[in-house]
């Protein structure tokens, strides 16, 4: 995608998002979240603040603290596991079997955490009242509202959740909730539910490096809040390319390559249990 298309897309996304959010906040279905987030307020920011994290950022998994859970490890049952509740562990085991069987999640949005832990870049685009975050892989978008609003308890749950941001000194703090629980937190299949309250603390540790400390608080799945520290490198000369998830393209690709490799192909459904 040429850069010229990014701005119109961002504007379009913002335009489209306004009625969507408005509707969501007036809708009555409640997310029965166990962690109240309505007390978390965002604060207005200056235009100078907004430029701090603008740009394209590429994940740097090699910089992660080795003692933490490794969200980049694709193998099931990594050495360090999150503090699962019994329900969370059972769900994770179920997810791991689902994944190991080659099951897929079609083109559903990845949610925010799994997007962060996919080795593809994202772009931060500051706008007047929000930041737009665009992940190249599967073209997932997220808004981080910076106009001082709170997260309402009746926000409609969604794959990408609902996010607000505020400054604490030189740290940009993003609070997210209203996830629908239909995605994994990571490629390993760590679960999340509608109870998830995700906090991100963004900080530039040098001119080219963004550190984000994630705290995942989902009492149904995890016995206590737990953290992941991830690093991203600024790519000043990069623009994001188009990589939407398109089932027709995936199917065509599957048919050609899987046929060549004598694989059975896919039916786009979870495999039957034997």
């Amino acid at each position: 995608m040429r850069y010229g298309l990014i701005v119109p897309m961002a504007a379009l996304a913002a335009t489209l998002a306004i009625p969507q959010i408005s509707n969501a906040q007036s809708a009555s279905p409640k997310a029965n979240r166990e962690v109240p987030v309505s007390t978390v307020a965002a604060s207005p920011m200056t235009s100078m603040d907004m430029s701090s994290f603008s740009g394209v950022w590429d994940p740097a998994p090699y910089m992660r603290p080795k003692e933490e859970v490794d969200p980049w490890d694709l193998r099931p049952n990594p050495k360090v596991l999150p503090p699962f509740t019994p329900w969370g562990k059972a769900k994770y085991d179920s997810n791991a079997k689902f994944i190991a069987a080659g099951a897929v999640l079609d083109c559903d949005p990845f949610g925010t955490a799994r997007n962060y832990f996919t080795p593809r870049p994202f772009e931060v685009i500051p706008a007047k009242d929000r930041w737009l975050q665009h992940w190249e892989y599967y073209d997932n978008w997220r808004e981080i509202w910076t106009d001082g609003r709170k997260i309402s308890d009746d926000t409609e749950p969604d794959y990408m959740g609902y996010s607000i941001g505020r400054w604490e000194g030189d740290v940009f703090v993003v609070e997210s909730a209203a996830y629908n629980g239909k995605q994994f937190l990571s490629w390993q299949g760590f679960p999340l539910t509608e109870s998830m309250h995700q906090t991100e603390r963004w900080q530039r540790v040098d001119a080219d490096t963004l550190k984000i400390v994630f705290t995942f608080d989902d009492p149904k799945t995890y016995s206590e809040p737990w953290k992941i520290t991830a690093f991203y490198k600024l790519k000043k000369d990069w623009v994001l390319d188009a990589h939407p998830c398109t089932l027709s393209a995936i199917k065509e690709y599957d048919e050609r390559l899987n046929h060549a490799d004598k694989l059975p192909g896919r039916d786009y459904a979870a495999p039957e249990k034997k």
């Binding site: 994940p59 694709l74 490629w187 990589h243 899987n258 060549a260 490799d261």
Partner: protein, 134 residues
């Protein structure tokens, strides 16, 4: 096959994700042997520059002179562009050398890790995420 340092590093990182592809695949399904890349010299039949992954179809003569039709995938176009590839990088009839990590099934299927064009120009198969400084 011996790898140069940089290429080996690319393979190790790519291998982590490639090894995980079957288990975590949203598409595809081939399980690649990242530890044993092979260099294929052949003639391009088709180059499909599309998401989710580009595909290269190459006729390669085996040791007995038989033509084997290889199906080779790459990362997505977005990743390949950053490695210097374009949709015009390959054309039918091009004589190329492609280093691939092959399917563990032993079928003529692989994942491209390096390309040598007819003019001698070399391109890597791209990388996912930032690599440690050398």
């Amino acid at each position: 096959m011996k790898s140069k340092t940089g290429f080996g590093l690319v393979l190790s990182v790519a291998g982590l994700w490639l090894a995980g592809l079957p288990a975590f695949a949203h598409h595809g399904g081939s399980d690649y042997d990242a530890q044993h890349p092979v260099a294929l010299k052949g003639t391009v039949k088709e180059f499909d520059w599309n998401n989710p992954h580009c595909q290269i179809f190459v006729d390669v003569k085996d040791d007995k002179g038989n033509v084997v039709a290889w199906s080779i995938e790459t990362y997505a176009p977005a990743v390949m562009k950053r490695a210097g590839w374009t949709r015009e990088t390959l054309h039918a009839g091009d004589e190329v050398t492609i280093t691939v990590i092959p399917s563990k099934k032993g079928n003529p299927v692989g994942m491209a890790r390096k390309l040598v064009l007819p003019n001698g120009k070399e391109l890597t198969g791209g990388v996912l995420g930032e690599q440690p400084p050398q």
